[in-house]
Amino acid sequence: MLNAIWVLTRARLQILRNSIWRGRLAGKLGALALIVLIAFGAFGLYSFTRFVVGALRSPDFMEVLREAAAQNPELPSDPAALLAAVPSLVLLGALALLVFSSFSSLLSSLFLSGDMDMLLAAPVPMRAVFVVKFFGGLVTQYLLLLALLGPILIGYGQGMGYGPLYHFCAVLALLLTPLLPAGIGALLVMAVVRVLPARRAREIVSVLGGLIGVAFYLLSQLGGQFARRVATPDSLATLLAADLPLLPSAWAARALVAAGEGQALPLLFYGGLFLATSVAVFAGCLVLAERLYYVGWSNMAVEGGKIRRRAADEQRREASRGPSLADRLLAPLPQESRAILVKDLRLFARDLRNLQALIFPVALAAIWTYQVFSGTGPRGRGGDAPAWAAQLQELAGVGIAFFICLSISSALTGAGISREGKAFWLLKIAPISPLRLLLGKLALAFLPFPLIGTLFLAVLGVVRGLPLPLLLQQWALLLLGGLGCAAFGLALGALFPRLQWENPSQQTTWQTGCLGTLFYPLFLMLILGLVAGAAILGELVGGSAAGLGISLLGWALAIALTAAVVWFSLLLGSRGLERIEV
C-alpha cells in the first residue's frame, strides 16, 4: 500500500509541477501575487494577535482592569483565565469550519475527480487511493490553517511569552487538527453518496455554503446592534464555555497551554487524548473506506437522471392552450433569441449552484431594503436642502435597486456566452446570427431590471411617498444603467470566453472581471452626471421652460449614450462570437 501511495503522490506532484512550470505567465504572476497577499495577511494576523495578547498581559492593562473591577464587581479582575481559553475558542471555530469545508472538498476529491475510472481499474489498493484523495482534498484546508490559524497560535504563544515546546506543539496541532473533522467529513461524504448523487450533493453543499456566507454577512451587518446587547461581563464567562473539557478542540488547546506553561502531565494527557482521537478517527475511515468508498463510487456509476415526468393530460393541455402571457411578452424577440432565453431560464433554475449565486444579492436586498425602509428619509430631515440635492439623496434607492438587479443579472447570465460551456457547439453550428444570439442573452441579462427593479422602486416609492415624476426618473435611470451594463458585460463575456469549466464560478475570466469593474462605475457616473448635471443646471438657470429644456437635453444625452454603449457592445460581442473556435 505504501508503494501505491508513493506512486500516486508522485503523480500528483508531477501534475502540480507541470501546471506551474508549463502554465501561462499571467497565471504564474497571479499565483505569486496571491501568495504575497496571503503572506502579508498571515503576518498581519500574527502581529495583531501578538500585540493584543501582549497588551492584555501588560501591567498597565492589569491596573486598568483592577480599577474597573473595583467599580463594577461583575468584571473579572484577572484576564488570565480568559487568555487561557483563547486557543480553545480559536480551535473550536477552526474545527467547526473544517467539518463543513472538508465535506465539500472531500466530496470533490473522493468522488468527482476525473481520474477515478483509471484508479479503480488499476491494481491499486482502495485504501491507498483513499489516503491520497483524502489528503489531496485537504490541501486547501491545510493551506488555510497555515495562513490563518498558524499565525494566530504562534502570535498567541509569542504574546504569552511561551517557549519552543509550545511552538513545536502548535505545529503538531496544525497538522493534526484537520484529521478529526475531515475524518468525520469523509465518513459523512461516503454515507451521503450512497443516498444522493455526488453532483447533487455538491450542489446542495454549495447552497449551504452560500447560506453560511450570508449568515456571516448578516452578523457583520447587524453586529453593531447585536454587540450592544451581548457585550456584557456575563458574555465573557460564556466564552469560557469554548474550553469545555469534552470538546476535542479543548484537548488540543489545553495541551498547547500546558506546553507553554511547562506542565508535563496535562500536556501528555490532553495532547495524547487529542492525538489518539484524531488518529483513531482517521484509522476508522481507512478501515471503512475499503468498503464504503468503493460502494459509494459504484453507486455513482449506475445513477440515472432525474425524470421530469408530466402527466399525459398536462401535455395535452399545454399543446392545446394558446400563447401564455410570457409568450406574448417575449413575442417581439426573434424565435432563435427566444429559444435561447427560455433554455437559459430552464437551466438556471435546475442547477442549484446557479441558485447559490442568488443567495447573496437576495440577502443583501433584504438587508438594504430593511435599512432604507426603516431609516428616516431625506425628505424628513433635509427640509432646507435645494430640490436637486434632495433628488440626489433619493438616488440611494435607485442605487440599491441597481446593485440588486445587477447581482441577479450576473447570477442569471454568468459570464454570458461562457455559461454555454462545452455545449456551445450547438449554438455555433445553428443558423443563428451572432446578433440574435446576443439578443437572447441580453434579454436574460436585462430581465431583472424591468421585473425586480420596477417592483423594488414602486414599493420604495409608495413607502416613502415619492412623487411620481421623481419615481419615473429613477425608474428610467435604472433601466438605462441596467441596459448599458448588461450589454457591456455580455460583450466582455463574448470577447473573453471560457467554455471549459466544471464549476459555474470558474466561467469568468480576469479580463471580464477587471474591465467590467472599470466600466460599470464609469458608465453609471456618466449617465448620472448627464441627468443630474442637467437638472442642477436647469435649476440654476431658473427659467421653467429653459430649465426643463436643459433637463430634457440631459436625458436625451443619457439615452443616446446608453444606445451607443449597447450598439458598441453588440458589435464587439458579435466580433467576439465569430472568433470563438470550438
Binding site: 421530469r308 408530466r310 432563435e336 450547438l426 449554438l427 453550428i429 443558423p431
Partner: protein, 257 residues
C-alpha cells in the same frame, strides 16, 4: 463546383488548411460530396479528421481555403450554410439539465422550425431511437449511447441536406449501431449527403459509397472501394495500413507476438 460524377456538390472543401502555431494540422484538403452520397473519412489518430469536419461546419475558421455547404461559403454566408447542415460530434456535450423534449424545443427554436411540426417530428425521432419513454428525463442522466441518439435527434430535426458525423458508432451497442446505420442509409436515400469520420473500417466498407483517407493533414487517397483496390482484392484495412504507414507497425506487432 461539380463532383466527379458531374453533379453539383452539397459539401465542398477547397484547399482547406488549418495551422496551430507551428503545426499545420490540415494541409490543403479538397473534396466534394454530392447529394445522397455517403462518404467515409478515414485516418489514423491525429490525422486531421475532426479538424477538417469542424472547419466544414464552421466550428473552426480555416487558416486558408474554403468550405461550402449547398454552395454557401460557411464563413461568408454562415446562416444559409448552417441551415442546411446537421452535426453529431464524437463527444456530444448537450445541455445536461434539459430533458430530451426540451432539447428538441431548443433546436426547433434555433432552426426556426414551426413548433408543432418540430414537436411532432421530434416525437417521431425519439420513437425511432427508442427514447420516447425517456424524453422527459434530463440529458445529464443519459448514457453515452443515449446522448449520441439525442444528438442525432437534434441533428435530424430540421431535415438537413448535409449530415456530418464524427465517429457516430463509437460506444454504441450493436443494435444501436445498426439502427444508426439504417437511419443514415434512409437519409442518404432521401438525398442527404452524409460525411462521417470513423475508425471502424467495416462500417466504411459496408456503408460508404466513397472513402477519403487522410494522413498527417493531407488526403492520401479518395475514391470508391473498387477504385482504391485498383483491380486487386486488398481489403480496406490493407489499403488503409499501406497508405498511412501502418503496415510496418503491423509487421512489428506480429513479430512481437
Amino acid at each position: 463546383m461539380l463532383t466527379h460524377n458531374g453533379v453539383t456538390a452539397m459539401i465542398e472543401a477547397i484547399d482547406l488548411r488549418k495551422r496551430y502555431g507551428e503545426t499545420e494540422a490540415v494541409r490543403g484538403v479538397s473534396f466534394a460530396v454530392e447529394p445522397g452520397e455517403i462518404v467515409g473519412f478515414l485516418g489514423p489518430n491525429g490525422a486531421g479528421k475532426t479538424t477538417t469536419i469542424k472547419m466544414l461546419i464552421g466550428l473552426l475558421r480555416p487558416s486558408a481555403g474554403t468550405a461550402r455547404i449547398g454552395g454557401h461559403d460557411i464563413q461568408q454566408e454562415p446562416l444559409a450554410a448552417k441551415a442546411l447542415l446537421g452535426y453529431v460530434p464524437d463527444q456530444p456535450y448537450l445541455p445536461e439539465k434539459l430533458t430530451a423534449r426540451e432539447y428538441i424545443q431548443l433546436i426547433a427554436g434555433l432552426y426556426q422550425l414551426e413548433p408543432r411540426a418540430a414537436a411532432a417530428r421530434g416525437e417521431e425521432l425519439l420513437r425511432l431511437f427508442g427514447l420516447e419513454g425517456r424524453g422527459d428525463e434530463l440529458l445529464g442522466g443519459y448514457s453515452h449511447g443515449m446522448r449520441q441518439k439525442a444528438a442525432l435527434t437534434g441533428a435530424l430535426l430540421h431535415s438537413p441536406r448535409a449530415l456530418f458525423l464524427d465517429e457516430p458508432t463509437v460506444g454504441l451497442d450493436p443494435r444501436s449501431a445498426r439502427l444508426i446505420k439504417d437511419i443514415l442509409r434512409q437519409e442518404a436515400a432521401r438525398g442527404t449527403s452524409i460525411f462521417m469520420s470513423t475508425h471502424i473500417l467495416e462500417i466504411a466498407e459496408r456503408m460508404c459509397d466513397r472513402v477519403i483517407i487522410i494522413d498527417k493533414g493531407a488526403i492520401v487517397a479518395a475514391g470508391s472501394l473498387n477504385e482504391l483496390r485498383a483491380g486487386g482484392d486488398a481489403s480496406l484495412e490493407d489499403i488503409f495500413l499501406n497508405l498511412t504507414g501502418g503496415a510496418e507497425e503491423a509487421a512489428v506487432a506480429e513479430a512481437l507476438i
